[in-house]
Symmetry: C2
Subunit: 153 residues, 2 copies
């Protein structure tokens, strides 16, 4: 089993290879805001776990297992972003929160959130009812807040 | 601002004080699966940040700021558990996943999930439609899986 931090590395290596064609230790270190020495250590662990290997001229390469894990990480990232977007989380928060939670959700939670997201996406009437529900709650909160401020004044 | 790991500590201290009446470094270390020396270091940080202080006979005590943060952590924990329960995540997964994600969700995400959870709880028809949607997806997945296995055989 890949640990949360192994997942993070494989995701980043996968992304770098997708975008630049290669993943150097220095790029990974910069992207994950870590010292190159920590990256080198993790790269060794990932090689032992069968996710990557090192080729003399190509540099870091994902094994089929690493490729599969990278794709799964990317899909999960996309899915969680879509979920947060669908329920109305502001765009500037989505990326930060997904990066925070994605390595801590188990497969069964991912499936349930996936079901929920596709359900909301396919049913406009439910999305509208949810939006109306949210507006009512926010209005109630604002009214309560105003009442508290009045009481304090 | 409290960091995710500070939140974790304050949550644990709050829980220990609620359940046992006091929070000893040794209890915190056991609960969080850490060395007492790491706990001692964090206890100093938390004291500097104004969340706890040490009293000669009572031991660790939450300040009003720490008490408030502890209550917020507990409410958020409860809210996220309810959300996962409402969308059908198995009971044995809920606790693990909530512990993993709770310190990585921003306040605006918490509010959106809260709105969604109360919406689902108040609307039985929507919950039933969601359950039917999930059943259909799972059946489709099972059929696709069976077709793949047949093709491979
Ligand atoms: Mn990600
Ligand atoms: Mn918790």
């Amino acid at each position: 089993m890949a640990t949360p931090s192994m997942e993070d590395y494989v995701e980043k290596i996968y992304e770098l290879i997708q975008s630049k064609g290669y993943a150097r230790v220095s790029d990974i270190a910069m992207e994950l805001n870590l010292q190159p020495s920590s990256v080198t250590k993790m790269v060794q662990k990932l090689a032992e776990a069968g996710y990557i290997h090192y080729e003399r001229y190509r540099g870091l390469v994902l094994t089929p297992a690493g490729q599969l894990l990278g794709e799964q990480m990317k899909d999960r990232h996309t899915m969680l972003s879509e979920f947060l977007r669908t329920i109305g989380v502001p765009e500037e928060v989505i990326e930060v929160d997904v990066e925070g939670i994605e390595h801590h959700v188990s497969p069964s939670t991912v499936r349930c959130i996936q079901d929920l997201t596709s359900f909301l996406q396919e049913n406009e009437d439910v999305r509208e009812a949810l939006a109306a529900h949210r507006r009512r709650r926010r209005e109630r909160e604002a009214a309560e807040q105003a009442a508290r401020e009045q009481a304090e004044a």
